[in-house]
């Protein structure tokens, strides 16, 4: 299960840590629960007993190499693929059509009516999600403004650039105020400003209590945007947890730069210390649990003037590579 965590950027989780289900303290405490999903396409196993949870109030990154089963999993949430086994639940109940009406979905292969006006299209999709025509039109206007394409409401989708089409697609997933947001590669093909805009929207949605899960291959952006990640490979769950937790898990990693000892010879032979990398005067050390960092600081000071002495977090890309081999 993805644990509730506190954002590194100071976003507070509206769900109390450890809160099992709905309670009076939690304004919103929805949970998406995937349990034992199996899906075979002929001889190919796309999902292999896949289970994990997506709690509300978090942006969860859904990672895996190509063909890992991410898209199949997302389609399974919306009943778009038949499962050989397993069940997808929302707040403890098997997901039905009325639940899906309250979800937002952005598929990997973007899809909109090319010849339809942007505003009309969003209103139509909003109405399919149960909104009144007035509310849908108002929400469409609001989201087009928030995503910076308010002037394109009367344009046909086919007349928009790829990035703007993606924003319209994002608006389509958001305009009905979904409780669960499932986005397949929402950042693909976006310029930095587009990524920032989408990132802000996702964070705001999570803050408002929405469950947000999105897949991406852009691990640096996932690390910046997400509180938690789920990493799968060959349809199986490999790693799941909070980004902070995963970054600080495992042996401690220390980066030291000492003037006059660019090769890190001062650390050679120290018990419980392994030099993992020496690059440009920076020496990366992996410390056993019982190694005292103060004594290492003293040793380094003896070798010369210390210009850098910092504990390093594991990058998400490292976690990913370790998880999928």
């Amino acid at each position: 299960m993805v644990p509730p965590s506190t954002s590194r950027r100071g976003r507070s989780n509206p769900q109390s840590p450890g809160c099992p289900t709905l309670c009076n303290l939690c304004p919103v405490a929805n949970v998406l629960h995937l349990e034992g999903l199996r899906r075979r396409f002929g001889t190919l196993t796309a999902l292999d007993d896949l289970s994990f949870d997506v709690p509300s109030g978090q942006v969860v990154g859904f990672l895996g190499p190509n063909g890992a089963g991410k898209t199949t999993t997302m389609r399974a949430i919306f009943g778009l693929t038949d499962l050989n086994a397993g069940v997808v639940k929302w707040n403890g109940s098997v997901i039905g059509q009325s639940d899906r009406r309250r979800f937002g979905y952005m598929p990997e292969e973007r899809g909109l009516y090319p010849g339809m006006l942007v505003g009309d299209q969003l209103s139509y999709l909003g109405r399919l999600h149960g909104m009144t025509s007035t509310d849908a039109a108002a929400a469409a206007t609001e989201w087009l403004e928030r995503l910076g394409i308010a002037d394109r409401a009367k344009s046909k989708v086919e007349a928009l650039s790829h990035g703007n089409q993606q924003r319209v697609q994002m608006a389509a997933a958001l305009l009905h105020g979904p409780e669960l947001l499932v986005l397949d590669e929402p950042l693909a093909g976006l310029d930095p400003s587009g990524i920032d805009a989408i990132g802000e929207v996702l964070a705001a949605q999570a803050r408002s209590g929405c469950c947000v899960i999105f897949s991406s291959h852009q691990l640096d952006q996932v690390e910046d945007l997400c509180e938690s990640v789920v990493i799968i490979d060959h349809g199986r769950l490999m790693v799941t947890g909070g980004v902070d937790e995963l970054a600080t898990s495992g042996p401690r990693r220390l980066v030291v730069r000492v003037d006059g000892d660019r090769s890190g010879s001062w650390a050679t032979g120290v018990a419980g210390v392994t030099i993992s990398e020496v690059k440009g005067g920076e020496v990366r050390l992996v410390l056993d649990d019982d190694v005292d960092s103060d004594s290492l600081l003293t040793l380094a000071r003896g070798a010369g003037r210390i210009t850098e002495f910092v504990f390093e977090r594991r990058r998400l890309s490292e976690v990913f590579r370790e998880a999928v081999g």
Partner: protein, 431 residues
């Protein structure tokens, strides 16, 4: 009219019964949100289809084009039939006794022509007027007829018939007078009417047959057009990938039903407009389209347009869900259109031939060909109301079966991308 009215009344009664039963079922429970949502989703999809189609340039231009063609098809023959022939100018050289004039006038009446006598001073003047076209025929001294050009053996124009009739009747009158009969006796003999001739086989009902022809062509054109819309519409939703967004909130059967319903309503609206336009124009110009059983054929055409669309739309929608590109659509559309083309050609041939055959009667009970064959049978007056109703019920029952199969194919193939889906891949029960 009976066999259109009775099915309509039965359908209305069945609908009212069904609605009353549903009200009774729903009233004890406060609400059935899932039912409301199904209706609402189907309605939303249908309304979107209608709005987009009505907005489209193809619809506007196509409707205008059909209206122009239908209007021309009604107005031109009506004008041709109604146009008053100018009176035939008969030059008379010499004396023209009243008996001669009466004989000539009687002959003209017999061929549906009108006359005007012109006195010519002499033969030369008469010849000059014939050459100039001022007169059509000259009677010289009551014993000779002169025309400008010789009559052809196969000429059947009014002018030729008039000349032949005048020549014959004036000759007979002279012969009667030569037989020394009194004037009254001669006139009585000259006014003799031909005996009425009756045939065992019914004659051609030209006005009904032309209405049947127009109806069959209208059904074929509209079914082809709207089924192609359904086919391409479904394919485009798949190829543009919007289908995945839609199916994340709407069930496949709801989406499919809404789509075919929306396009079907557009088709019905267009067909109703065309029929109303045709009736209005024909009434205005006095066309025979509103006479006899022709209006019945038009109503029957509308009924079978709806039933034909209801039958074929599911097949085309299922085919559209298996395609992803335009070229795949074309290869799918051809085999689907074969039964339609067969029914159309057979119905067209029979409508032109003047009498229905056994084959046409068989085709009128087969749902793929009934939309073309049955209106033609109605035009011939060769079908009773219960036979009509029987064919309608067979078509409706088969439509339900086809819709069920199509929905399964649609559900299984609409999300399968990366190439055309083969039929055996989606009908296998082991999927």
């Amino acid at each position: 009219m009976t066999f259109v009215l009775i099915p309509v009344l039965i359908a209305i009664a069945a609908l009212r019964l069904w609605m009353r039963r549903r009200r009774r079922q729903t009233s004890p429970r406060s609400s059935r949100p899932w039912l409301a949502s199904i209706k609402s989703d189907v309605g939303l999809v249908a309304v979107r289809e209608m709005r987009e189609r009505f907005r489209g340039r193809i619809f506007k231009v196509g409707t205008l084009f059909i209206l122009i063609v239908v209007g021309a098809a009604i107005i031109i023959p009506a004008l041709h039939n109604n146009s008053k022939q100018p009176p035939q100018m008969i030059g008379v050289v010499g004396t023209s006794p009243a008996s001669l004039r009466a004989t000539v006038e009687s002959s003209a009446k017999g061929v549906g022509d009108t006359l005007q006598f012109v006195a010519e001073p002499d033969v030369q003047h008469a010849r000059a007027d014939l050459r100039s076209g001022r007169i059509d025929l000259a009677i010289v001294n009551g014993s000779q007829l002169v025309i400008d050009r010789p009559l052809a053996a196969t000429n059947s124009s009014v002018d030729s018939q008039l000349v032949l009739a005048v020549a014959k009747n004036v000759g007979i009158t002279e012969a009667l007078q030569a037989a020394h009969l009194s004037r009254a006796q001669s006139e009585t003999l000259a006014a003799a009417k031909a005996l009425p001739v009756t045939s065992i086989q019914p004659g051609k009902k030209s006005s009904v047959n032309s209405t049947s022809l127009i109806g069959v062509i209208l059904i074929f054109v509209m079914l082809s057009q709207y089924n192609t819309w359904t086919l391409i519409g479904v394919m485009e939703e798949k190829s543009s990938r919007v289908i995945e967004v839609l199916l994340s909130t709407v069930r496949p059967i709801q989406l499919l039903t809404g789509k075919v319903l929306g396009i079907g309503l557009v088709a019905l609206a267009q067909a109703s407009l065309i029929v109303a336009f045709a009736l209005a124009v024909s009434k205005a110009v006095g066309s025979n389209l509103t006479h006899g059983t022709a209006p019945l054929v038009l109503v029957s055409t509308l009924v079978w347009l709806v039933l034909g669309y209801a039958f074929y739309c599911w097949v085309y929608a299922a085919a559209g869900s298996m395609a992803e590109r335009q070229d795949q659509v074309q290869s799918l559309a051809l085999p689907l259109s074969l039964p339609m083309i067969f029914g159309y050609i057979m119905a067209l041939t029979q409508a032109s031939s003047g009498s229905p055959t056994v084959l046409l009667k068989i085709l009128a009970y087969l749902p793929p060909t009934a939309p073309f064959a049955m209106p033609v049978l109605v035009g011939f007056g060769a079908v009773t109301w219960w036979e009509f109703l029987c064919s309608v019920l067979i078509s409706v029952a088969c439509t339900f079966g086809v819709a069920r199969a199509a929905a399964t194919i649609y559900r299984r193939s609409i999300l399968r991308t990366g190439g055309r889906v083969r039929i055996r891949e989606v009908i296998s029960p082991a999927r």
